[in-house]
């Protein structure tokens, strides 16, 4: 049995080494993806194009508009006296926000100490609109404080609010100075967050797709039937198929981690052996899914389509792009079955937060359970089909 395994293993490694297409797929494509994707995958809210509808024509109105541009968060896309051109700019995409300063704005501020503004946002992308709104709210409230003659005004710099902390409270009013600090990613660099996740996505895709295609290709070519009539036991055959791919997955992961550290300066706070332990266990699940796909597919076309559809579910429910905790609770329960979710959480925690085994043992345990479970199911399914 061991001899058979050794012979088969040598055959698999030889085959992989000879196949230049596969080798390219294994190393060049993931690296290009990692390099490009990491720069693409950002939800960062850039400068919003603001259309100002100034119906007041007063220096006060102009001062408010200047506040917006001075913040650096907004750039003026255009001015008008009526709303129609602004609405058009929103429709065509030339502006993402429109500030309407109503007639009598300056008068209201002086006479009533209260004025009403209108802010219209392009909310196609809801979360970006929300962030833009938060920026606008901050600018407007700061402006209001200044109009009220208050001296206390925090200025935001690099995510930290620097307030005149020792300033005396104005006119006996209690002052609460709020400072904010962003932990683990103080520069709010998207790439630090995305690179570890994309890395996991890549080894999942490669591991699952390679396994599925590798076996289905033998099926399509008829060589699988030939193997079935030899005395090689299915377990030996599966082990010979999976072991090389498991090793490749780990090598791939190592190269990815290196790129993450060197190119993207992702901090390596935690233990690398812990990380690779996680990767080894995680790959069991990824390869298991590939094995399962090969049992339900007759052609490479089907295998590819099934893998892709599964990957999509995997990725969307993994927290890679959108936080799992934002999902409805029933989706969160289903997501527990997604090995990718646990591994992404683990990689981010270990690399960025320096989490140790005491912090991530839950993820590790989940990975171990899911990995062995999926692999066992896939092997059972394969045997049933092969028999």
């Amino acid at each position: 049995m061991w001899r058979a395994l050794r012979v088969l293993l040598r055959k698999e490694f030889l085959q992989i080494r000879r196949d230049t297409v596969i080798l390219r797929m294994l190393f060049i494509m993931p690296m290009i993806q990692l390099l490009v994707l990491s720069n693409v995958a950002t939800f960062e809210v850039k400068t919003a194009q603001l259309w100002v509808v100034d119906q007041d024509h007063t220096p006060a109105a102009r001062a408010l508009a200047d506040r917006f541009t001075a913040s650096g968060r907004f750039a003026v896309a255009g001015w008008s006296v009526v709303a129609a051109p602004g609405e058009d700019a929103l429709l065509s995409g030339a502006a993402t926000a429109m500030l309407v300063i109503p007639p009598g704005f300056a008068r209201d501020v002086v006479r009533d100490r209260h004025a009403v503004l209108q802010l219209v946002l392009n909310a196609e992308n809801g979360s970006q609109a929300g962030v833009t709104q938060a920026y606008a709210a901050e600018i407007i409230s700061r402006h209001a404080r200044e109009l009220g003659g208050e001296t206390w005004q925090p200025a935001r710099r690099g995510g930290v609010v620097h307030g005149a902390g020792d300033a005396a409270p104005v006119r006996g009013r209690p002052v609460i100075e709020v400072r904010t600090r962003s932990r683990y990613n103080p520069s709010l660099d998207y790439r630090r967050f995305m690179v570890p996740g994309i890395l996991v996505q890549l080894i999942t895709l490669i591991g699952t797709l390679m396994t599925a295609l590798n076996i289905v290709r033998e099926k399509e070519a008829g060589t699988l039937d030939q193997l079935n009539v030899t005395p090689v036991r299915p377990a030996v055959f599966i082990a010979a198929k999976l072991l090389p791919l498991w090793v490749i997955g780990l090598v791939e992961f190592a190269v990815g981690v290196l790129v993450a550290a060197v190119v993207f300066r992702v901090p390596m706070e935690g233990s690398l052996p812990l990380l690779f332990l996680g990767a080894g266990v995680f790959l069991l699940a990824a390869l298991g899914v590939g094995l399962w796909v090969s049992t339900v597919s007759d052609t490479q076309q089907q295998a590819l389509f099934v893998t892709f559809s599964l990957m999509m579910v995997y990725i969307l429910m993994s927290g890679l792009f959108t936080p799992v905790r934002a999902m409805p609770s029933w989706v969160q329960v289903v997501a527990q079955l997604n090995p990718m979710m646990h591994f992404i959480a683990m990689v981010r925690a270990v690399l960025l937060k320096g989490a140790g085994i005491a912090d991530v043992w839950r993820q590790l345990l989940a990975l171990a359970l899911l990995g062995t479970g999926i692999l066992a199911l896939a092997v059972a399914q394969y045997r049933k089909r092969a028999a």
Binding site: H114, P174, V175, A326, V360
Partner: protein, 374 residues
């Protein structure tokens, strides 16, 4: 019968065969028709960006009335999950690292006394910002609670209030599904057109059946059309079912013209098919065709199109690259029609780009195919 009529008949016969071929493969067909719907449901239900249960830990070295008042504010803040009090800032750290706390609010000792004395009080808001967007959002939520609290403690005389009425245009409820459905249509169309045609054509090449077709009296263009049209029909069927489901299940709005939407989908599907034919022409195996379709079409159409990540947030050079990604233009068109209700008068630039792409790709595909065939 005229020559032209004969060609038409041969094409029809060939297409009938191809359709039957596609329909016979029940499993692939079921996958192609049902999976897009499953994906839509997933997008609609699972993809959200707004966290509604931010886990807040209040660090109060000396619990007093002010700390209790603040805790009550968080408890009734709607989107917060208040954790048991944390005694020291040092105890907050491991909780943040293990991901059990999202936001820590660190208070000064004896806050109530300081406030009563009219002294300035410092509050530190620490957020887990591994995810910059979520981290900032949670920070903003917590800061808003603190601002409200401060305001409730009494406004200074003579303070000015600027009331802002916010109107969210095109997607007032901020549903992510409204944003994602147009992109999902692009993704499904790419998959069914580029990926499937590239693979099915190169499969025939691999198995040698393509050569058989070539010695038949069919013209190469008839073969290509016959191969491609069933996929076009399938792609359009996908568009219709996904749109119907989006409308029925999620109430995604259709503010513009449905006819224009379908026409644009057809145009985009044709671009995808042209890419598929081109890929099949230049590759020699299914695997190579698959990889080319994935790397050349699927990935750019997913990642560089604005489907998930806004194009405007990408680095400048990459924004230029998105110009050659068909889905980028198509997604702008579909979002424009569905969410904004705009028509051809505003969408003609995007439509012309797609049309131009189609012409260029078709010319290339025809040339490469005929070179190969001669």
């Amino acid at each position: 019968m005229s020559r032209r009529g004969g060609a038409w008949q041969a094409l029809m016969a060939f297409m009938r065969k191809e359709v039957r071929h596609l329909l016979r493969d029940r499993r692939t067909l079921a996958i192609l028709l049902l999976l897009p719907l499953a994906q839509l449901l997933l997008f609609g239900f699972a993809v959200r960006t707004d966290i509604t249960s931010v886990r807040v830990g209040v660090v109060a070295p000396a619990p007093d009335a002010a700390a209790a008042a603040l805790r009550a504010r968080f408890e009734h803040g709607g989107r917060f999950l208040l954790l048991p009090p944390i005694a020291t800032a040092a105890a907050l750290e491991p909780l943040l690292r293990a991901g059990r706390v999202d936001v820590g609010v660190v208070l000064e000792p004896a806050m109530a006394a300081s406030l009563a004395a009219g002294q300035a009080v410092r509050v530190l808001v620490v957020a887990d910002a591994v995810d910059p967007n979520t981290g900032t959002m949670m920070q903003n939520y917590a800061s808003a609670v603190l601002r409200d609290w401060q305001a409730s403690l009494g406004a200074a005389p003579g303070a000015v209030t600027l009331e802002t009425r916010v109107r969210m245009r095109f997607n007032p409820t901020l549903e992510s599904v409204n944003l994602f459905v147009p992109g999902l249509i692009a993704l499904i169309l790419t998959m069914v057109t580029s990926l499937m045609t590239a693979i099915s054509l190169s499969r025939e090449k691999e198995q040698g059946t393509f050569e058989l077709l070539l010695v038949s009296p069919l013209h190469p263009w008839q073969i290509i059309i016959g191969k491609v049209l069933p996929y076009l029909a399938l792609a359009m069927a996908n568009v219709v079912t996904v749109l119907l489901a989006a409308w029925l299940v999620f109430g995604v709005p259709f503010r513009g013209s449905v006819v224009l939407l379908l026409a644009a989908s057809m145009l985009f599907a044709l671009v995808g098919l042209a890419v598929g034919v081109l890929i099949a022409a230049v590759t020699s195996s299914q695997l190579a065709a698959m990889l080319a379709a994935l790397g050349g079409m699927m990935l750019p159409n997913t990642m560089l199109s604005g489907l998930i990540f806004p194009v405007a947030s990408m680095p400048r050079p990459l924004q230029f690259v998105t110009g050659i990604v068909p889905a980028r233009w198509f997604i702008e068109i579909v979002r424009g029609i569905m969410l904004k209700g705009v028509g051809v008068s505003l969408l003609w630039p995007q439509l012309s780009v797609l049309l131009l792409m189609l012409v260029v790709l078709l010319a290339l595909a025809i040339r490469r195919t005929s070179v190969r065939l001669s």
